[in-house]
């Protein structure tokens, strides 16, 4: 049973465009939602995270939008750059989960020059 569903599987965006990746969850015990960026051959790097008491969090060009009632959250990358080309994972942590994370399957983003 996949507890965090991520879409799309892959995404091509032109340089300067907006990249949008979506995730949906079912477990209402989830209380922390991070996004990770992973380059080939590297471990995932924490990008930005949100808790369900806020609807949006912005850090530089990266924004998380969170809809608690719909149990959905999304990552927006503004002014996408070729260096943003990577695989992005959404994840979720249950409030009794000792910080262990459940990951989506990932979105491979390609930003064309």
């Amino acid at each position: 049973q996949q507890q965090v569903k991520q879409s799309p599987q892959s995404l091509i965006v032109q340089k300067g465009g907006i990249s949008i990746i979506n995730c949906a969850y079912e477990n209402t015990a989830f209380d922390y939602f991070p996004w990770y960026q992973q380059f080939p051959g590297k471990g995932p790097a924490l990008l930005i995270a949100i808790r369900p008491d806020v609807s949006e969090k912005k850090e530089g060009r990266f924004t998380i939008s969170f809809n608690k009632s719909a149990k959905q959250f999304s990552l927006h990358i503004m002014d996408s750059q070729p260096g943003d080309s990577a695989t992005y994972f959404c994840a979720a942590r249950a409030d009794s989960g000792y910080s262990t994370l459940t990951f989506g399957k990932g979105t491979m983003l390609l930003v064309s020059p």
Partner: protein
């Protein structure tokens, strides 16, 4: 400040063998979690160690075992390797303090079972 480190970087083993992977957490962190990432998939939680005890476990067989040392470093052991165990094994560290949620990952160990 060193981040999470893992060794070795790559490993090739034969089916049926045993393997040990090692992880040193980020400075100031006391909790280590291990994840398995198959090609093209998201990481899957194996287990977590805190105060030298396994305190949570994912859906993995008991061929997968671990250990945490007093300096918070950790080992992941896999016995009776199967071809399906080929994956990137990731270690993540965190701090068990109140309202601390962030997990930081190491670069991983790429295990190939032939």
């Amino acid at each position: 400040d060193a981040g999470v480190t893992q060794s070795p970087t790559h490993l090739i083993k034969t089916r049926g063998q045993q393997v040990t992977l090692r992880c040193s957490p980020k400075s100031g962190h006391d909790t280590v979690s291990w994840y398995q990432q198959a090609l093209g998939q998201g990481p899957q939680f194996i287990f977590q160690y805190y105060e030298e005890e396994e305190r949570q476990r994912g859906n993995f067989p008991d061929r997968f075992s671990g250990h945490q040392f007093p300096n918070y470093s950790s080992e992941l052991n896999v016995n009776a390797l199967l071809l399906g165990d080929s994956a990137l094994y990731l270690c993540a560290s965190s701090w068990a303090g109140h309202l601390s949620y962030e997990q930081y990952f190491g670069p991983g160990t790429r295990l190939t079972v032939t």
